[in-house]
């Protein structure tokens, strides 16, 4: 038996010519800088060698190649052309990417069960840097400028009775830096709620360590005032058999950009990443997540849902899931759904799935952005339900899927009421 394989016949082999101008096999050429990088079929590999502070300036064609560093100087000034900033209106960052972040950070007030330890520590605390490393300039700027950090520790084997509530209240519009560390020690079980309110211009780094066998839920609520600007890097590192559930809810603020990253360090761990956002006229709500399947037999499930209404309401969702060569047996799914309720709003949605091994249990990604479905409306109205009520039923139902994941009744009620207020605001 002869085995003849030509270059041409191999499905998925890099082709010399792009099929469509402006597109490569990886999809749209995202920026002029990327076009240069994509000329090399090995761009991803080449860039990867420069991770952890290399900073060669080649935009990432693989998420694995993204520059990470604790030093602000390693990140070039932003132009807005970078892949991870191309949707963000830099002018509205109010200096988070250019200024020294020495304004007063949002005040931190923690209500926790007795079994949970809450400390305020300096920059030299050993736990700083244990779970996160900045992945962009704004995060690195906060890392360089924060003066003290709040560390919340759920001790080993403790099942926290009731949730840990962290109220972060903005102190004004001076650009500031914030740092939090959450440690769920071995076999502990807990829920932490981060409640962002008031007016702030803040870059925030949240480090989350979920040790072996621990179960942790972190709920991050952004119910800022209309003038707030918030960039939040929320990074989690998971030990063996650890379980982490993350729910990001962004409703208030002028510009909110949340960038959750989950890194598996040992097999058997699981993450669920949920998000809900509701953008009104002029609001920019951005979420960019990264799930790094670096070890075998871990699971991830991602679902973000958003609603938009009003002129220049803008939402961005980018989901990067990377299954590395070593991550055999990975099971992952990510999805984003957007409901555009009025004219003049814009939802960007980019699911990216990189797979470097075929020996996986499952991998999927999906995205859908649509207008209100007239068929839904007709069906409900044909049963006597007035149009306004029918619209609310559908939007509420759409977002409820995420709210139901919270499982803290007081917060579920609060968010349900908040969604009702959003709907009432424009009479949808």
């Amino acid at each position: 038996m002869t085995d003849i394989t030509t270059e041409k016949a191999r499905i998925g082999a890099p082709s010399a010519q792009p099929f469509i101008n402006g597109f490569t096999e990886e999809g749209e050429s995202l920026s002029p800088l990327n076009a240069a990088a994509s000329k090399s079929p090995l761009a991803g590999e080449a860039v990867k060698r420069h991770s952890h502070g290399g900073g060669v300036g080649i935009p990432d064609s693989s998420r694995a190649g993204r520059l990470t560093s604790y030093k602000l100087a390693d990140f070039k000034p932003l132009t807005g052309m970078e892949e991870d900033w191309r949707f963000t209106p830099l002018k509205r960052l109010r200096g988070l990417h250019t200024e020294v972040l020495n304004g007063a950070a949002p005040s931190v007030s923690v209500t926790a069960p007795d079994s949970v330890t809450v400390e305020t520590v300096g920059r030299d605390d050993r736990r700083i840097g244990s779970a996160a490393i900045p992945e962009d300039r704004v995060s690195a700027n906060a890392w360089e400028n924060f003066t003290e950090a709040t560390v919340i520790t759920v001790p080993a084997e403790v099942q926290a009775d009731g949730e840990v509530s962290v109220l972060l209240t903005g102190q004004g519009t001076d650009a500031s830096a914030q740092h939090l560390v959450i440690v769920a020690e071995k076999f502990s079980k807990s829920v932490v709620v981060l409640d962002h309110q008031g007016t702030a211009v803040v870059s925030e780094n949240i480090e989350i360590l979920v040790e072996d066998g621990a179960q942790l839920t972190v709920i991050s609520l952004q119910e800022w005032n209309d003038d707030a600007v918030h960039a939040s890097s929320q990074q989690v590192k998971l030990g063996r058999d650890a379980k982490f559930k993350h729910i990001v809810v962004s409703l208030g603020g002028d510009l909110v950009r949340v960038t959750p990253s989950a890194r598996f360090t040992a097999p058997g761990a699981e993450v669920e990443l949920f998000g809900l956002y509701f953008a009104d006229a002029g609001q920019h709500l951005e979420q960019r997540l990264f799930v790094d399947h670096a070890v075998a037999n871990c699971k991830s499930n991602v679902l973000y849902k958003g609603a938009l209404q009003g002129r220049n309401a803008h939402t961005v969702w980018v989901g990067d899931v990377l299954i590395r060569k070593e991550a055999e047996g990975t099971d992952t799914y990510e999805a984003n759904r957007n409901l555009v309720l009025t004219d003049g709003a814009r939802a960007d949605s980019v699911p990216n799935l990189e797979i470097e091994t075929g020996l996986i249990a499952g991998a999927g990604h999906a995205s859908a952005t649509g207008r209100f479905d007239d068929q839904h409306l007709f069906y409900l109205m044909a049963r006597g339900i007035p149009e306004k009520v029918a619209r609310r039923l559908v939007v509420r139902g759409f977002l409820n899927e995420i709210i139901q994941q919270i499982k803290v009744p007081a917060i579920e009620e609060r968010l349900t009421a908040a969604v009702e207020r959003e709907l009432a605001a424009t009479d949808n």
Binding site: F378, G384, G397
Partner: protein, 265 residues
């Protein structure tokens, strides 16, 4: 006693090729307690009539009237028509994600009655109606029509018919896609609703099969947007044997309609 009256109804839709007339002058009067069957080949405009009565935005009424006890139905919005007592059991019930059946049924009942149903009796009524239609109890927790099979969707349409108690029920090919058992269950539901004596029924169907279970007093044959023949139940029997072949479609239909009108005169 109520009357639904359709007079010389002309309906068109906008297509990429321009406006297309689908109903070309339909007149029909239904009273409480009556069951009318509308039969006809595919594409004859049967479903268009059903959707137009319900107020689907796709269909434009170019002339003619629809009245319910003298009230102008065409001037009403979709939800007003439903609250006035018109119910359309849809050919393709729509899935509404995120809205539970429980929530949907109660919201609709409240809208139709103008007040919330008493919780205890309502829950009991829903349970009883579901049991009779052999719908699993867990359906109330599921989202409206989401993941339901074709047969389940049709049963849930009839469930609503029984719970909402409309003055007139329009069943748009409710029988299509049902196996014999499901067809019986669904027909029994319609007959139960009808037996209360407060409802008129417009049964739209391509096949005569459902007429073994639901007995119409009047049969209207639809071809090319017009009623070409009318009669009693015996007309349905004849259609069962002969099919629609004897009605020419297209240009020939008008001639036949004229001939049949002449014969009746």
């Amino acid at each position: 006693m109520s009357t639904l009256e359709i007079k010389d109804l002309h309906v068109s839709i906008d297509t990429e090729q321009g406006t297309k007339e689908i109903l070309k002058g339909v007149s029909l009067t239904i009273r409480t307690g009556e069951t009318h069957a509308i039969m006809g080949p595919n594409g004859s405009g049967k479903s268009t009539l059903a959707s137009t009565i319900a107020g689907h935005p796709r269909y434009n009424v170019t002339s003619g009237t629809i009245t319910l006890d003298g009230e102008d139905v065409l001037a009403m919005s979709v939800d007003q028509r439903a609250r006035a007592g018109l119910f359309l059991a849809m050919q393709y019930p729509v899935e509404v994600p995120g809205v539970s059946m429980t929530n949907f049924l109660r919201t609709a009942k409240t809208a139709i009655d103008g007040e919330a149903p008493k919780l205890r009796t309502w829950t009991k009524d829903v349970k009883a109606a579901m049991a009779q239609l052999r719908i699993d109890a867990d359906f109330t927790q599921r989202n409206v029509n989401e993941g339901f099979s074709g047969g389940e969707k049709k049963r849930v349409e009839i469930l609503q018919l029984e719970l909402f108690k409309p003055k007139f029920a329009i069943l748009d090919e409710t029988d299509s896609g049902l196996d014999v058992d499901a067809l019986k269950v669904v027909s029994e539901g319609v007959n139960r609703a009808h037996a209360e004596g407060k409802m008129g029924t417009l049964l739209i169907t391509h096949y005569t099969r459902i007429l073994r279970y639901i007995k119409p007093e009047f049969v209207h044959v639809f071809v090319d947007g017009q009623v070409v023949e009318e009669g009693g139940p015996e007309l349905a029997d004849r259609l069962e044997e002969e099919g629609y072949d004897r009605y020419a479609t297209g240009a020939g239909a008008a001639t036949i309609a004229a001939a049949s009108a002449a014969a009746q005169a």
